[in-house]
Symmetry: C2
């Protein structure tokens, strides 16, 4: 029995370091790098009985990544999204919504795709919308993903840092992903490759944070607010880095609280994207 409505939970994803890999095929294009998925992300409800529409936290909007996914699947559902984190601030919400819509639409229209198919569709949508290069594959996996090879399945290769725990974050504002990844990425790619080597040599959260800080500085992506906050956390004995690409700082444990900030808190997500009960659960 095919359900009318599917509810999909997608973790947020903060990239700490990355290098850009362009390719004419959007399933092969992507990024290498490392990040952490967060229990604070997005919930996506896909309803095939509603009229074609996208509501983000109660407000009608459009998202290019979602348009691409719906065009690929050739379906026109009503989509409602609730986010636990700000959009445009480095939490990968455009990727989360693309991925959630892909899994939800597959369930309610019985499209017959595997998870890898749906991840590839959402990844390509993100790349074509210039809103991200590695969030979707990370959000499909959960944990602390290392993107060893760029692109969607079967092209990309993921690994992970075997660790988890509490994460704190503070957002100072938005940054444009398209402006950065569409520009000259020479310095980013050199710094990103070096950071990835460091993390693969020492796959711990502490090394991830430290290598990502170096990356942010060498790639000249630090904003003044984030640079100051990182300094405060490190001075207080903690570990913090910048969320790529947002004016956002993330810290391990109570790093931001200890430094006198009033952060939001969540955890590294154990699970990747998941369809929830009551939504084509046995489809």
């Amino acid at each position: 029995m095919v359900p009318e409505v599917a509810r999909v939970s997608v973790p947020g994803h903060v990239t700490g370091c990355f290098s850009v890999h362009r390719d004419p095929d959007p399933q092969i294009a992507g990024s290498r790098g490392a990040g952490i998925t967060l229990t604070d992300g997005a919930t996506v409800v896909v309803d095939r009985t509603g009229s074609r529409d996208l509501e983000l936290d109660g407000t009608k909007t459009t998202m290019a990544s979602v348009e691409h996914v719906l065009a690929t699947l050739d379906v026109e559902p009503a989509v409602q999204v609730e986010t636990a984190v700000p959009v445009g601030a480095g939490f990968g919400i455009s990727g989360a919504v693309a991925l959630g819509v892909a899994l939800g639409a597959n369930a309610v229209y019985a499209c017959g795709h595997t998870e890898n198919d749906l991840v590839a569709i959402a990844h390509a949508a993100e790349v074509e919308a210039s809103t991200g290069l590695g969030d979707v594959v990370a959000q499909a996996r959960g944990g602390a993903p290392i993107r060893r090879e760029p692109g969607a399945p079967p092209h990309g290769t993921l690994d992970g840092i075997p660790a988890g725990g509490r994460i704190e974050y503070v957002t100072f504002g938005e940054l444009s992903t398209a402006a950065v990844i569409g520009g000259d990425t020479g310095a980013i790619n050199d710094a990103g490759a070096a950071a990835l080597r460091t993390i693969l040599d020492d796959p711990t959260l502490s090394a991830f944070m430290s290598a990502s800080r170096t990356f942010a500085r060498e790639a000249a992506l630090l904003t003044p607010s984030v640079e100051r906050a990182i300094e405060h956390v490190v001075d207080a004995g903690g570990e913090a880095t910048m969320a790529m690409l947002g004016d956002t700082v993330v810290a391990l444990g109570t790093g931001l609280s200890d430094a006198g900030y009033e952060p939001a808190a969540c955890s590294i997500a154990h699970a990747g994207v998941q369809i929830e009960a009551g939504s084509g659960y046995f489809s």
Copy 2:
């Protein structure tokens, strides 16, 4: 700071259909097939301050897969395992313990491995112990894993059925995995390849159950108790199949209850193996 004790949760894993792929390299050997991971699995506590020992549900024992993992990592911790399901009954507990010990030992001895490294070590240990060919890679992933290509990372390739929900099961007794996968697997491999094609054409839990039933019959692996129970569930309008390799039947939703059995119940696991809080969480 390296913790003294790590606690790792590992889902159970029921294979519905499989084909055997032998190779001299235990990281390349494995199986193709499909299965479901279960919230009922094993919890593994690894303690580097204790003396070298393995306790399974309070009883001292030895497990060949664990010996292999500890030898590879060259460490000698105390290991305590609690299981939610019977051992030797098709729930992949030997794989779960091998994987849990690998992640736990990596955390408390700061071995510096990535998740893929640890999955490969545990997979090879299972293969060398002849206790399984595909449980470890599935348990690392969670969900309803499709093993498209056999072996550990970076050799194997996983996909998934985008679905979930309640699972019921009844165990009638044990079966020996080593006796089956060490014997003539010609009929198994033909039936397993056909079942996998069916599931990839229609990646739903319903098709998984039906293709796995056909596999069990064609591979001549059905036990009388399981055959009877599957018939009862299907007659009552449900979906059930056999857990490979155990004298165990698994059903979607309330399939076994509806057929008059008194089953245990759990859910398809959203997450794969995970290190829990208080156990090197930020390592």
